[in-house]
Symmetry: D3
Subunit: 252 residues, 6 copies
């Protein structure tokens, strides 16, 4: 049993409020335990310089935490005048992950901006951001598709992320909260498609290491957690989920 009463292989309670904001094309408020992230998807009718004249779209993400999302107040990155390495790493991860679940040619020369703003943090903000942003993005693209701006609905499969790790006393556990994460020997984030394919795998043994057999157990536990997250995404997306499942089947 873990400090918060969960079993090793148990996810925290996940709650998703779709269309949380009035202005964005797609938005959700995702809660994973006490971690809460507002994910917004915006669509811009042009692509960055390096994608021009390719006929393909682009997905880019920005991530930020409110200063008091955390136990101790953090200095605002706009006040510091620069974005930390951690933020950049997360932003790149979110963008890269989402691009693996979208047919960018069907999107056409458009940029999908993903904004993940963590309003409360208790571990797993990057994985919650990916899981939530996928829904915000699907909502935005569905709106565009309904308006006949795209021939094909471009989301090719579900995509979600979770963490697994090795934690003192608890051993191998799923979906670490902040207390677990801050003392973990090994911390791994896994991004996967609804087809059970890896998109990203980032395992870190900060001042520690892990063996191939531990890796195998970590991946199994992650797979179980991700299957539950795909179900939650399906429920949140309603009819749009059907379109995604159709696309996923067609691809196989």
């Amino acid at each position: 049993m873990r400090a918060d009463g969960r079993e090793a292989q148990e996810l925290r309670h996940v709650h998703i409020e779709t269309n949380y904001l009035k202005h964005p094309e797609g938005s959700v408020l995702i809660s994973v335990g006490d971690t809460k992230v507002i994910c917004a998807a915006s669509i811009e009718d042009r692509v960055p310089h390096f994608m021009r004249n390719t006929g393909k779209g682009w997905i880019t993400a920005e991530y930020s935490m409110l200063p008091r999302a955390t136990e101790q107040r953090n200095i605002r990155e706009s006040s510091k005048g620069k974005v930390t390495g951690r933020t950049m790493e997360i932003q790149r991860l979110i963008g890269r992950s989402l691009r693996a679940a979208v047919d960018l040619e069907s999107v056409g020369e458009r940029t999908i901006w993903i904004d993940c703003d963590v309003i409360q943090a208790d571990g797993g903000t990057r994985t919650a951001s990916i899981t939530g942003s996928f829904i915000a993005m699907a909502l935005a693209l569905a709106k565009l598709h309904e308006k006949k701006k795209m021939k094909k609905f471009p989301v090719t499969n579900f995509l979600a992320a979770t963490s697994v790790g090795i934690v003192p006393e608890s051993g191998i556990v799923l979906d670490l909260n902040y207390a677990e994460d801050s003392k973990a020997f090994v911390d791994m984030n896994i991004v996967m498609t609804g087809a059970g394919q890896f998109v990203e795998l980032q395992g870190t043994g900060e001042e520690a290491t892990f063996s191939i057999s531990e890796l195998q157990q970590l991946l199994d536990m992650a797979q179980n957690g991700l299957n539950q997250l795909f179900e939650i995404q399906k429920k949140a997306l309603g009819d749009i989920a059907i379109k995604i499942m159709d696309n996923a089947e067609a691809k196989e």
Copy 2:
């Protein structure tokens, strides 16, 4: 009648959710119509350089908008690497206003950090930030006072803000929404104490001007709106409101 159906002298619906966040000493989610701001108050046990050894506390504010708080996505200030003039002006206004409602000597050498993060914007974000931050600050200071960290509860009176303006077709109106604000001839923000004293008065006739008699009408209408906001603050603060009223009476 105004475009959204309100009377000229009518406030938008105001809703306040206290203790909205888990970590900060005080926090609220304030909604004024479709404008939504998370206000958090953090207490740090030291003061900025220019206040050291004065025995007095300090209150400072930071203000930011989520990129998709608005109709069009705004570039994140942390990405730009600098804070705009508009943001700085608002931050200074919020800090200055709150300092007028607090006995800084009773606070002692502490800094109260106010974070106002606009998650949805529809006009009046700076006045909603002041009205909401006052409550978040009072909650944080009450917690400190209960822990006997201060001899005296230092909030001296209620403090709220609203806007008035002169709008084409509607004339003089209270609490402008974004559509009204963007076409207003005259725009005025008023910060007032529960005793009806002015703290800040900022009237701007962007490419327009206003007469002394128009000023008089604007101020009257603002006073009415502010009285309603003080009532809402009282309700939200419960027992803490009684302490504030006691302080306000003692001061007279």
Copy 3:
């Protein structure tokens, strides 16, 4: 009587040297007591992005102090690599104010850059900047008008600024110097047109408040001071003043 021997309702000595610099289209050195500001107006034949294809011009201002304009040396903003909030607030105020005295359609798609460089500071640098910049701008626009680059001389009325405040021992006073400003309970800047209309009204009770009747007295005193400043502007502008008065009358 005030510390510097002035009556409560007395302006400091104002001196204006027109065409102070060789290169700018318009320039003045304005002295208000010991406060000295070089104001330069430059005309650029294009407008910022948000004004393109509107057929209208734009006025923008920059404000800076020499490091030893003040008693203690200030760090140069170019060395710090960023502009302070105070500077941004003043720059925005100057630009906004001047735009209220100019018919931007007559200006056409041009930008008027106003540079206010404080070479000596003794309180009231922002109001001296506005009063002086108005003259520099009128000189520059008159030059353009003489060259037949504009059909109509676009300055619609005089525009000046002053401060009033409530100061310990002295009470309500006009045109605060630095010593008065730094201890004032209430500080108010008023920008007005030659027609007696308000353009900007910014009253601040830093850690203090003021009543409606005090506001009335402050505004009356400001009006008197501003009338004297309009006379000084008229004298400094000579024939150009006549054009402005013609425009002002035509507007009524």
Copy 4:
């Protein structure tokens, strides 16, 4: 066979020149095929703020490319005034990896600065940086140990990094060069200790995905490559390698 004539499981030629620079405590020039990185280790007798009074040391890395390390000239990060997300990600990875091979308590309150400067790039600059920096760091720590500044030689095991990936036409390959990397479906960097334990595992399917069985093959191939790199490190370090092997054995 691959475009450069290598077999799928073949490393590029690795050459290490120890003590390449005169001034640093430890340095190497590592070449992995056409990729060349200067790695320097500097020792500072204090730790960053967050490590003070812990009795432990810290290892931090900086990574940079010369502008013409690449086919097309890159803008210098010092000219841009900021470090890119990619650079930050690599810096954090190098630092984190090296910390897993060092007993930071034995280091004491010192910082080991690792500088990786890529003078020529042909893919795999981050893995070459880790493999080379490990040697530079061991050289620097050995020097300190010889001077009796530390009781125990603190390097606990060998540590090296390589890449594996899935490349069109070639399939699963080891140690990708730039041409392979830029078209790879899947790209994975593995950092491992001499004991065969994972330190970091970062697999990315940019706009692609990979299965669990592909992951297994990738990891096997990486393990083989890493074993060769450990041998190269042993040879380069001479007597110091013996100290490391002793520490590694003692730990088991």
Copy 5:
């Protein structure tokens, strides 16, 4: 004859207004033809980090141009957020030059801040800055010496700067104005002490070159101009000049 009617070896008219500003310890407005620079000297009772505990003082300079000091408006360096290479070069030159005319041990652990603000530019702003700053600095140090804060008056000799160059049609000329400077083949700045010793010599043949015999003629002409500038400095400094001459003689 030159375009402005001067002989080849003729300086422009030099005018110096001492104590031009109210607040600084020393200040001048120096005009060299149409070039006008405000030079201010401030004294701070501490030295930069690298001079601590040396018992010696330091002199550092900052240089800036008003945006409309020039024919075309320049972007303000504070708006750009960084100082140009040209500005840095000039700042370093001014500081280095002045340090050669002061006995830094007599100054004690103090910093002399020199601020050179060009309000109008017509060539030779850096040499005018040095010539003027020398006077501002001497005024500030004399004030300190009178207050018995230093045992010895620390200015060891006069110090001035001028330019010489080779200009199409005019040949070798003294004290180039902007028109001459912008088309010169060779441009040389010379900083010299009252004893005729070189402090700085910077000759540049931008896209051109010069011979040793041309160098000889340039230096002779500069020497003549500098002798006149020393006389102007003497006159401006009055009694302080006598102290400097005493120091200069004692040194020989």
Copy 6:
């Protein structure tokens, strides 16, 4: 005799490795004693804004030191987020110098980017950068000329740089190393063409001065050193040197 055993008029050992890097159009590794600089020349088919439509090319240089090029580790300029004044000064000097040895009209509307990266520093990094960059640039331009992209080979003469100085105990010496440079009374950098014409002359007496007769001796000694450097450049450039000599003769 000097501390490192050299005679006063003796250069350090100079070694040049041409085509040191794989990617740039031209590159060298130049060693002058223990000072080692990688110089790379890149050719871009466009010119900066201020050179457009002039039909002429441009040469611009960037200079940087690896953090451990020096005895003490320097903070990386990319981490500081800005380039120091010293770096800017050197960059400007290198670019200006090289432009004097090239017929920019023959280059056509192209930019030659020069990157000088100091990998080890022992004094004279800026002069080694100029001497080495000249070769890298000539290599790059020769490649372009061979490809018939230019009618005329545009390098008009050899160009090299060295330093001379007055050093305690040693007196007037050539090619100062770091130990000499850091205690020199006078330090002078001379850039000269193969025809014995000055391009740049920068003499500095930091807290010291020098006479005209000392200047004469410094220049003579520099001339001797530069003649040796021209011979080294000729040898390194092989056939390209013949083209340069032809151009130089044609110019006379």
